[in-house]
Each structure stands twice: as C-alpha cells, then as structure tokens.
C-alpha cells in the first residue's frame, strides 16, 4: 500500500483505469461465458430430446413386436450424431431392449436402471431419459448419453477469445487513459511545480494558470488567492520590518546620546552580568577605559567592595535596587557610590541590568563606614577569576 501511495497521480489514475477495465471485462466475460454455457446446454438438451423423440417414434413398432434387432438398427442411426456415446431402449417394464455404443471397441455399455423423463448433466456428459409413447400409450423409454466435448471446445475457444479481447481492450484502455488522464494529472502536476518553485525561489509573485472550472480550477483559484495574500503579507512584513529597524536605529541613537552624555556613570549588563556598555561618565569616575570594562563581570569590577553589594551581587533581577556601596577604582582607591539597578526585561530569561552610579557626599561616607576598613575579598569563583 505504501508503494501504491507513493506513485504519482498519473500512475495512480492509469492504474485505476486499468484495474477497473480489467475487472469489468473479467466480470463481463465470466457472466457471458456462464450464460453461453447454459444456453448451449439447453440447446444441446433440446437437440438430444428431439433425437430421442425421433428414435422413440421409429422404434414403437419394434418395441410392440419385441423386435430388438430392428431396434438396434434404428439406434445405429445415432452414428450420425458424433457426440452421442451410448444409447439404450428400455421396454415398458424397464428391461434393456436394445443398446448402442459409439465406440464398439469400448467396454460393453451397461445401461443404468431406467428412469422417467430426466436430464442429468455432469462434468463430461449429459444423460437424457425420455419415455416412448404411441397414441398416448407408454411403450418404453429411451436413454441417450452424449459427451460434452463440444462444450469444452466451445468454452476453451471462449476463454481464448476472452483473453484476446482482454488484452486488446486493456491495450486500448492503456493508450486512451494515458492520454485522457492528462486532463486531471496535468493541472495537478503544474500546480505542484508552481508550488515547489514558489517554495524554492521564495517568490510569491508566481501564479498558476488554471485550465477549467472544476475542483482543480477551484484549487488553482485558492492557491493563487493564497499566494496573493502571502505576497501582500510579505510586502507588509518587509515594510514593518524596515520601519521597525528604522525606529530601533532612531531609538538606539537617542538612547546612546542620553547614555553617552549623562553625568552619571552608567553600566549595562547582560544576563550573565557582564558589562555590555559603559558611558564616558563611568570611565571618568572609575578611571577605567571602555576596553577594560566591556565584557568583564560586574563582580570582578567591583571586587573588594565593602559590604555594599553584599547579598545583592547575584540578586540582580527586575526589581530595582538602591543602595550605597564602597567600590574600588582602577587605582585601588576607594570610592563610595550610590548604586541604582534597574532590570531591563527584554525577556524573562535575560535580565538586563542598568547600573547608575554617582559619588556620595564625603560626610555621609565617613559617617557610615569609616576610612580604614580593609576591603573584603569578593565571594564566588567567577568573581575571583575575572578579578586576577
């Protein structure tokens, strides 16, 4: 079944036509042959019955006068009927009166016991019993046994002819169907070709040309309509995309301008808390250059921070954090800053962190932390490695 499903429409159509034709022809042949067989047997039976009637009529006197020799002579006329194998005349008491066998050399014909009017058809022969009457008076019975060789010959001839007709018809059906199936398979093939070229070239301006207004024509219309909509959508999508890019570019330059010109130090972290961006104010404040900062872990940068970011280092999420922190500059000098973090949720898995720093008042710094406390080592393996 799999292989059948994989055949092309053209082959399927052809196969359907051929199978249908073959089955129809077979059914017709079988029915016709059976009909012919029954007709032939009926004609044969009638013929034998007529022969039996004639023989019976001729043998009434022989039967009446018990003249078996004459009866045999009458039966001998059956030699003209080549298919009669055996024949027998029974007297009115059912005794065998006279017999006839076509093949004298054969074993002696032993007639079956007499029966009233009956026809028995077996595979190879036909048995016919027929009463003989004279002026309405029953005087005996005739049995004629004929072979069915002519029926066999006829059936064989029929089968031969059937076979030839089948071959010829299937050939014609094949030739016709291989032309006619194009009406259906042609448009479908064209549609398939069009669809695949649309798909491979991503060209939505290609259109299929429909041939008629049948279901395939409808399919063409729908296909073309779908392509129309796809094309519109493609154009709209492209336009939206262009617009969006333009807007993003605008927005980015706007933001860049804001960030670059802000007096506050600004860091942008990615989801792994690595620095993506820093502004000139940050560079100035911490005395790092941009190249030294970008790509580094925030924890590494702010290592040795007294306890300012403690407990918050890894808890950078979308909740804003405001805290005071003591951080080291590049030259190891300590600076107290106010840190604000804001989560930039582009999507859930990648929080972007926005860190704004500004220097604190000296008074507050002294009051809160004291000047001489040594900086603590940062915690966490990542922070460690990135620091050294």
């Amino acid at each position: 079944m799999r292989t059948y499903l994989d055949l092309s429409i053209r082959q399927k159509l052809q196969m359907i036509v051929m199978v249908t034709s073959a089955v129809a022809l077979l059914v017709a042949s079988v029915v016709f042959t059976l009909y012919d067989r029954s007709t032939f047997l009926r004609a044969k039976t009638q013929d034998l019955s007529a022969v039996a009637t004639m023989i019976g009529s001729n043998s009434t006197a022989a039967l009446s006068f018990g003249d078996a020799k004459s009866a045999r002579e009458i039966l001998a006329a059956l030699r003209a009927k080549q298919n009669v194998i055996n024949a027998c005349i029974y007297d009115k008491d059912g005794g065998v009166f006279a017999t006839y066998s076509r093949d004298v050399a054969d074993t002696v014909f032993s007639p079956p016991s007499v029966q009233t009017q009956a026809t028995k058809i077996s595979r190879y022969n036909i048995l016919l019993f027929q009463p003989v009457t004279m002026n309405g008076e029953f005087v005996g019975t005739i049995l004629i046994e004929a072979d069915l060789r002519d029926l066999d010959e006829r059936l064989t001839r029929f089968l031969e002819i059937d076979f030839l007709v089948l071959l010829a018809s299937l050939t014609v059906a094949f030739l016709l169907s291989s032309r006619l199936q194009r009406v259906i398979s042609g448009p479908i093939q064209e549609l398939a070709d069009t669809a695949s070229s649309v798909s491979t070239q991503e060209n939505y301006s290609i259109r299929a040309t429909k041939k008629g207004n049948d279901e395939i024509g409808l399919l063409f219309d729908q296909f073309n309509g779908m392509l129309d909509r796809l094309q519109l959508r493609d154009v709209a999508l492209q336009k939206a995309h262009d617009d969006l890019e333009k807007r993003v570019a605008e927005r980015t330059s706007y933001l860049n301008a804001l960030i670059q010109n802000s007096p506050l130090g600004i860091l942008v972290l990615d989801s792994e808390q690595k620095v993506q961006l820093c502004n000139p104010a940050f560079e100035k404040l911490f005395e790092y250059t941009r190249e030294e900062v970008v790509g580094k872990s925030i924890n590494g940068l702010f290592a040795g921070v007294e306890p300012l970011l403690e407990g918050h280092r890894l808890a950078l999420d979308e909740n804003p954090i405001n805290l005071l922190a003591r951080v080291q500059r590049k030259d190891q000098s300590v600076l107290d800053v106010e840190v604000h973090t804001v989560g930039l949720m582009a999507n859930c898995s990648a929080p972007w962190v926005f860190i704004r720093t500004s220097p604190l008042e000296n008074a507050l710094k002294k009051k809160c932390y004291g000047p001489n406390r040594p900086p603590k080592k940062p915690v966490g393996p990542r922070a460690n490695s990135s620091l050294t």
Binding site: T60, A61, A62, S64, F65, G66, D67, S70, M134, N135
Partner: protein, 155 residues
C-alpha cells in the same frame, strides 16, 4: 405372443371407415376354423380398445361370415381352402393373418414365422395393396416382405 401381435397389428394398420358398420361399431378379430389359441385370445385381448373401438373376438366356421371382420386369423385347419378364402376376402378391407407355411406367398397378408425362437412375420405387399388397408412403414420395416408367388417378378 401371437395374440399380442394380433392386437399390435391393429395399432400399426389403418382400416378405412367404410369397413366398419358405424362410428361406434367394434373392432372385430375373427378366428376362422379351429381356434389354436384357446382361452389365451380372450384372456389377452378382451376389454382392449383399438382407437375408440372396443375389441371383439368371434370364432367362425364359414368364410362368408368373415367379410364383417377387420382381421381374420386363418387357422392351420383351413390350409386346404386358403385360395378360396383369399378369393372371397380379397378387396374386402380384411386383414388376413395365418401361420401356415407359405400363407403370405400364396396371397395372405401376414404370416407368422419363427426365427430363432422369436416370433416374426412376413407381409405380402401385393395382398396389402389388394386389401385397401394402410400399413405403417414401421410395421413393414419389421417384416420380411414377399410378393404373390409366381407374380413376384412381374410386380
């Protein structure tokens, strides 16, 4: 056996209507001379019907009474008078049956013979022509056919 044959002859031979006195009158089988059959004739044939006519059996002494019969069985006892009997019953629509040797050849219609213990019969076709009776060809086919003695060559 012969009695049954007598009855069967009646079935294969047509008598003209004029040979009967009326449409309902019986079919008469007569035995001329000494009856060789005895009761068998009556036992076998009594009550039988030929066509629509009942069958009647008569036993005759005189040949002149035989003109009203359809079939006459001439007893061997009359063999001495055959030529007179034939002369008187010629062209009288009477079937002459006998079993005397030479019965048919001398002018009788049907003569019983014995052939290998089977009863057969000989028919004189000249006598058939003279009698005005119509014989079935099937009956003729079973019989040995002869002509009148001495006239056979001339036909």
């Amino acid at each position: 056996m012969k009695t049954a044959f007598l009855f069967n002859f009646a079935k294969f031979i047509d008598w003209p209507a004029s040979s009967f006195s009326g449409p309902q009158s019986p079919f008469t089988i007569c035995v001329l001379g000494q009856d060789p059959f005895g009761n068998i004739l009556d036992d076998t044939l009594l009550g039988k019907i030929v066509g629509i006519r009942p069958l009647v059996i008569r036993r005759l002494k005189e040949k002149n009474e035989a003109r009203s019969c359809q079939m006459v069985f001439v007893s061997p006892s009359e063999s001495a008078h055959l030529s007179e009997i034939f002369a008187s019953l010629q062209r009288a629509n009477v079937l002459l049956v006998g079993e005397t040797t030479g019965f048919a050849a001398s002018g009788g219609t049907i003569e019983f013979t014995l052939d290998d213990n089977h009863v057969r019969f000989t028919i004189n076709t000249d006598s058939v022509d003279r009698s005005g009776l119509k014989f079935s060809s099937k009956l003729l086919a079973l019989a040995k056919l002869v002509h009148d003695e001495g006239h056979s060559k001339g036909g």
